[in-house]
Amino acid sequence: MKLTFSPEDEAFRNQIAGWLRNNLVGEFAELKFRGGPGDEHMFPEERKRWEQKLAEGGWTCVGWPEAYGGRGLSIEQQVIFFEEYARAGAPGRMGHIGEGLAGPTIIAFGSEAQKEKYLPGIVAGTELWCQGYSEPNAGSDLANVQTRASLEDGKWRIHGQKVWTSLAHESDWCFVIARTEPGSKAHKGLGFFLVSMHQPGVTVRPIEQLTGTSEFNEVFFDGAVAEDIVGAPGEGWAVAMGLLGFERGVSTLGQQMQFQNELDEIIRLARANGAARNPGIRQRIAEAHTGLRLMRYNAMRMLSSSQDGQADSSALVYKLHWASWHRNLGALAMDVLGPEAELIDDAPYELSRLQSLFLFTRSDTIYGGTNQIQRNIIAERGLGMPKEPKGR
């Protein structure tokens, strides 16, 4: 256990910091500190071009094996990469679902042909992905998906509806869980499909969120063709669950660096408007600071262990911790602003960044497994308590 970085790692730090300094300029300068949580709908075109800029420098998928176009960085250097990325204020990544979820899943479970077909577009920052899991009747109870996949003339075709699909309107591909065996129940008889979003059988309808903006969508599949199935038909659940494991990967460090920027902004505001003298606010800022630091060390534990092929118990509580922390940060931002927090940037409903943060962080405790579901999982898998009774 040691906190210091090696000289090679520090040299690497200079390398990435220098690259960002030289490239986050010109048309990209306006993207600084943009596109983070609550701001993800902003500057999509510019941020897509930024993805490609990153790729040219070899700075996408930095933790992937070199064989798949990654940089094969050690955990230490990935930590440094994400630290410097955030320190520079580089924008929220458009490609994170592909880089963090779809890619690692294809690497772990896909065929060689699938790796050759899908990974280069993710590495190049040219192909964006979305996640087609949730349905109107399959939220927390994800295994209840009803979307069907049927083999028609040798092709898998998808019929059904997904909902809450983030960034579907910006995406080129969607990974979809659908039922391959009619009449099958729960996690049996599912398949994990890769579906192009650019085809007649796919309709994307944006859903307006409480922010007045639309980051997520309804997606209708009317016989859309799935180009590939990852894993065997009927075994999609294992793939889908494997993917959720990647959600806790190194990309969480990038997310934390965004959090740090948000907290820094809140601290700056508190110092400027005198909220920093209010004892209650002081307690909450200190608590937020502590929580974020400890989140970082939780992540380090998780990653240091997984690098050595071991599971660490911190992984189990990770989502519940960061989601609750971030939700509290959103509320703290408003309380620091006081009555000023009420005034929006412009009519009809243009919110400030911190207002978006406040509202958007309420979703952190919902998507990717709600706080309640997380607690069920911690109690059942972490503490060996009985499973929740099921109604079917």
């Binding site: 320190r87 110092r271 920093a276 502590t290 380090m300 534990r301 911790h321 503490l383």
Partner: protein, 398 residues
Amino acid sequence: MKFRFTDEQNMIRETAAGFLQDVSGPAAVREVMATESGYDRALWRRICEELCFQAITVPEEYGGMGLGYVELAIVLEQMGRNLLCSPFFGTVCLGGNGLLVAGTEQQKARYLSEIVAGELTATMAWTGPEAAHGGGEWGAEAVTATWEKTSEGYLLNGTLRYVINGHTADLLIVAAREAGTRGKDGVSLFTVPADLAGIQRSWLPTMDQTRHLGEVVFSEVSLSADSLMGEAGKGWPSLEKILDLAKVAIAAEQLGAAQQVLDMSVQYMQERVQFGRTISSYQALKHKAADMKLKCEVAYSAVYYAACVALESLDPDGDPAIAAQLREAAAMAKGYCSDTLFFNAGCALQLHGGVGFTWEYDVHLYFKRAKASELYLGNGAAQRELIAGLLLDEEFRT
């Protein structure tokens, strides 16, 4: 940079866990906690002779093992888990750290060697009754004993309270101030053998019986000139560092205790049946247990992060940027772990129902330890205020 235990550290952990489970079970704790000394001398000797825990952080030149604060935290975590009643915390985390941080070469050579040999117990006496002001401030104003310079050395006067093992320790590291000074000025540290003339000591019986406190009264106690640690009147920064290191140590104990009450609760919930089901099948209770688990995991990161920082801060060749985080890391660990242990112990009491309220069940031992260790050196709110001061009152740091 690696944030997980080495194989050697895992071994120390297993050894400590196994040994302490054997020797510091509930029956042993209950027997010894009721005695005036508060510890079992034979067991202390075994710890010193067979396990050598007291030698972990002592450098090899003084006969110690020369290991770091991470190893120390590993052992403390297990001590907290088993509520070990012993002079370990006072001797190593107050006395030993005091010598390491502030001792002269001569003091270190003499006393650290005696600690390693298991011949000397120690503690630090630094607070007067003022430590309780404002609900527990534990700052420089709490130093109220006084020193004055004499021709042979120094003269000590004053009453020190809340001294861990103050009535039994052989060596006292004493903080006193020059008469007439205030705050951080005029504070000096001294090594004081407890048997000097003019020292009166008594046991202050406590609600948490697993850690004993004493009162030490100095009436015109004369000290030789070589008792002074560091420079006269300039002792506050050293004292503050010793206290920061002590916070990390307490936090490690709290972590172990917080895990233990969670384990006890889960076990009880799996056995207790109401309405025809084990109570562990009720979601309200599962979620409580999940929250306890989350806090344990985060507390674990807090403790070992702070221990890594302490390691660098005690190493003359340590990374200065990391060493400089000691105040903050110690406050985060102490604050988070204090709140965690009190939350977990309180939940444990509730989850046990009526039996948790009995003397017979062990939950109350942890519940009382929780409050005692939370208040010692400042509770969670006090630590957060300290952190807020670092974040908000100084030049903005990124």
